[in-house]
């Protein structure tokens, strides 16, 4: 039993090797586990399904490359679903590199949308979109980053284009058809069919929730795993209609759009790595208790 005591002094690099193997081997052997969408993701997609084609939705990319492995797949899946529902996403960012994150997600989502066969729409009972060549400024737009946080968002409720005279690429937004609403008015935050933030930390969905009393729009969030316990409270209070939590949440989104992307492929290594960590915690505790009993006896 003395090997248990040796485990207490195990070199941390041995644990790193085990974790690396637990992640690499399932990826190399293409292991896959079934992904069952949960109600928090399903409620978000159900809301998108209910929106009228042509409805503008606001997507806020409040993360940077450090959180991209968790939030990028979710952003792509949500964008693909929006395009398939003929919704018009208006992307923006409260984080400096969020505009680049939005651009990368838009490019990937447009490619997946373009490759969607017509058969898919018949299977899910959706009308086939009139065109698969979506145009910037007409069907979607990326506004890029703006500083200011809450003060900035507050201004967007009544006049969106004042803060955004140009989009991320420097094109004039005043002449873009995406901001011309069917009722003849210009788009504001209060016209969005959904406000969704891909949040890695502060300055994300909580800013929009804080102004919920003013814009009165339904809100949803996609967050990193670290933030899941915090954001669950907003689901309970119904301030959020849906929550995509971490990589598992992104995998659920991919399952709902019938696309096997990086999040679904990441579920097998994720589960196996968790098992390895659990094993280490259990063995570590057994070793601790064994040492404790030995000390007491002595």
């Amino acid at each position: 039993m003395d090997f248990l005591l040796k485990l207490k002094d195990l070199d941390r690099r041995v644990i790193f090797v085990f974790i690396a193997l637990a992640v690499a081997l399932p990826l190399l052997f293409k292991m896959s586990f079934p992904v069952v969408p949960g109600r928090n993701v399903k409620s978000l997609f159900a809301h998108l399904d209910k929106l009228e084609p042509g409805t503008r939705t606001l997507l806020s990319f409040d993360f940077d490359p450090a959180s991209a492995p968790e939030l990028h797949p979710a952003a792509v899946a949500v964008l693909v679903h929006m395009f398939r529902c003929q919704l018009k996403p208006v992307c923006m960012a409260n984080w400096p590199v969020g505009g680049d994150m939005a651009q990368s997600a838009l490019e990937e989502a447009l490619r997946i949308f373009k490759e969607t066969p017509d058969e898919y729409y018949r299977q899910v009972g959706k009308p086939v979109p009139p065109t698969k060549d979506l145009k910037k400024g007409v069907d979607y737009v990326n506004m890029g980053y703006k500083p200011g946080g809450m003060a900035h968002i507050k201004g967007l409720i009544h006049d969106y284009l004042k803060a955004y005279p140009l989009d991320k690429d420097g094109a004039a937004t005043g002449e873009m058809p995406i901001f011309d609403l069917p009722n003849g008015k210009k788009f504001t935050l209060a016209d969005a069919g959904l406000i969704m933030s891909f949040t890695a930390g502060t300055g994300g969905i909580e800013v929009y929730i804080g102004l919920g009393g003013e814009h009165k729009r339904p809100m949803a969030a996609s967050c990193t795993s670290v933030n899941i316990p915090k954001f669950y409270t907003y689901l309970q209070t119904k301030q959020l209609i849906g929550l995509v939590g971490g990589l598992p949440g992104a995998a659920e989104c991919e399952a709902l759009i019938d696309y096997k992307g990086p999040a679904q492929r990441g579920m097998a290594p994720q589960s196996i790595a968790h098992l390895v960590i659990m094993l280490f915690i259990i063995v570590g505790n057994i070793a601790y208790l064994y040492e404790l009993s030995k000390t007491k006896k002595a």
Partner: protein, 218 residues
């Protein structure tokens, strides 16, 4: 070009991973490179092109920086006031004149504090209090009743724990605050589990890049 960026990305990733063995010059190189590139990219590409140019220069000097119809707009000289306050912040760089920057900071702090009070009250305080007032017995739904009991006991006992005016002792105060500690421990466990899950997700992302985009093994 993609090939070069992929190889560069793989090299930097491996430099960062090398820290897991021990601190070394490769890791420090990657760290310094990250800080330098981030600062440069943030100021030139993002702050200038996505904030300063469209929101200040194109409005104060529309004929020069305006795009489309905006080039014919009247100049908005009032924006020079916040621009001037922004410039004052740079006085932080001088030890003798740093006091000048305090005027701008005072303004920013005042506005931020005012907004934060409204924001915290609306996001967290009032809705959470409202939703903590729940019926303890839901007819025909045992699970909902149990859930509501857990919610109420958890909220009250945790609040008791954070009441520091009295010592955490005695049959009532001591017991309730001890229950509060248990609830807090469970929530810390949930937070730790989520954090581990997040870190593993990031590792998966890097491995997908290394094994897929770089080595083409996936």
């Amino acid at each position: 070009m993609t090939l070069i960026t992929t190889w560069l990305g793989a090299f930097i990733t491996l430099c960062c991973f090398s820290f897991l063995y021990k601190d070394n010059p490769f890791y420090r190189f990657a760290e310094h490179l990250f800080v330098g590139v981030s600062a440069g990219y943030l100021f030139t590409t993002i702050e200038f092109h996505q904030a300063l140019k469209p929101n200040l220069l194109s409005k104060v000097l529309p004929a020069t920086f305006g795009v489309g119809k905006d080039a014919f707009n009247a100049p908005e000289y009032i924006l020079l006031i916040p621009a001037f306050m922004g410039v004052l912040i740079f006085f932080r760089l001088s030890s003798n004149l740093a006091w000048i920057s305090r005027y701008s900071f005072a303004f920013v702090m005042g506005v931020s504090t005012g907004l934060a009070i409204v924001y915290t009250t609306q996001t967290s305080l009032l809705p959470q209090i409202k939703k903590a007032i729940v019926p303890l017995f839901v007819q025909g739904d045992l699970l909902a009743s149990l859930s509501n009991w857990v919610l109420v006991i958890g909220s009250i006992s945790c609040l008791f724990f954070f009441f520091f005016s009295t010592e955490h002792r005695g049959p009532v105060y001591g017991t309730v605050s001890r229950i509060g500690i248990w609830f807090l421990m469970i929530s810390f466990g949930a937070a730790f589990g989520s954090t581990v899950m997040g870190r593993i997700s990031l590792l998966i992302g890097r491995f997908q890049f290394l094994l897929g985009e770089w080595l083409h093994l996936l």
